[in-house]
């Protein structure tokens, strides 16, 4: 069956982006699963937010300062819960801490925040 030559790019692109669009409509388009779960656990049960809101999505670019400002968790408590040294710079991003602290993963801060805010 012969078709017009433009069928190839038009069908190919429509199908590719059509599936993406369909996933967005149906809610399957999730680009940051961990952050979304962290956000929900942080925002639903804030401990004592400094500014009245605990909405924060924790990514590799997030600093410890941003987290404690958003959640109200004391720095020392957060560091202890996440297994970080007590003298850790609060302005450091989680990604940079991953390089500085052996064995550290940004997900441990997410988990620590989730645990602390749920208490």
């Amino acid at each position: 069956m012969k078709v017009n030559k433009w069928f190839l790019p038009i069908a190919g692109i429509i199908l590719l982006f059509g599936v993406i669009g369909l996933a967005q409509i149906t809610g399957y388009w999730v680009t940051n699963q961990r952050a979304e779960s962290s956000t929900s656990s942080v925002s639903t049960t804030p401990t004592s937010p400094a500014d009245g809101s605990a909405d924060i999505t924790i990514t590799g670019q997030t600093t410890l300062r941003q987290i404690i400002d958003a959640t109200g968790i004391p720095l020392a408590t957060l560091l202890a819960e996440a297994g970080l040294p007590a003298d850790t710079d609060p302005e450091a991003t989680l990604r940079s801490l991953k390089d500085l602290v052996p064995g550290f993963e940004p997900s441990s801060v997410r988990d620590a925040v989730a645990r602390l805010t749920s208490r």
């Binding site: 069956m1 012969k2 078709v3 017009n4 030559k5 433009w6 069928f7 190839l8 790019p9 069908a11 190919g12 692109i13 199908l15 590719l16 982006f17 059509g18 599936v19 993406i20 996933a23 399957y28 388009w29 999730v30 680009t31 940051n32 699963q33 952050a35 979304e36 956000t39 999505t57 990514t59 670019q61 997030t62 941003q66 990604r95 390089d99 997900s107």
Partner: protein, 313 residues
Amino acid sequence: MKPEHEDTPPSRPGQPLPPIGRRPSAFQRRRMAVRSVHRWRWLVRIAAVALIVTVAVRHSRDHGGAPSVDAVCPFGAVESAWTWLTTGTALPKIQPSNVVVAIGLLISILLAGNVFCGWVCPFGTVQDVLTKVRTWLRLPTVRLSARVDRLARHLRFVVLALVLVQSAMTARLWFADFDPFVTMFGLHWIFEPEPTKMWLGWGLLAIVLIASVLIERAWCRYLCPLGGILSILGRASLFRIRRREDSCTGCNLCVTPCPMGIDVAKPVPAVSSDCIGCLECLAQCPTGGALEVSARLPFTRVNHASPSREVSR
């Protein structure tokens, strides 16, 4: 009877379009077709580059969790497949969006072939820009012999195997540290330059870009692991560019513009599965019907009497 294209001179640079009401010559029609393909391909590819750059900039500037380039790459789902099958969890940085893009790509290829590489992939666009630059600068191109070219194309599968094994063994996106696409479009070299950590990725990117100046789409032809997978899947696509030997005059005009270096004039009946659906060959073909987009059941037998085993299925 003379072929249609023999009625017109072989080349007339700068020839204006015909006046309204006058039927364009075969050469003019071909030229208009080529321009049309070029215009639309560049338009779509520039849009794709803009889209991926926007994603990267938003991710780098927005601490609120905008998706990263890793999260929209279809290859991520492939890298994570083994870990997901054996442990039930994906590799770090792999998101459901990777699976969605991979499924979309799979459906797209099974119906319309591998148009992703020719019309969407931003790194393919970068290589095409480098080819343009080489043309403007009138730099020489490197042509590998048919045998070396055929063997070198298998390097894609070597890279693919290496990436899959390393990803499974290290349980992380091992290739992300070297992937030229991520190195370039992740934009870490702008927002978070860390030369001590990134020198290897930058070095590989530089080598690939230099190679792409010398050989058109060198990364796609010889090293891209995703391209390797897509070339396999492309064999099963329903609609493909096919050549009708009874209509072809053997002028070889379709061979030169192919960015993947496929000998389009030889394969019977289907163009190589390395085809990226750019339509350059179809636009150049002066003989109506010699090259056409048509459907045939996938994986059916073909005539292996083709003179080019390299490009035939």
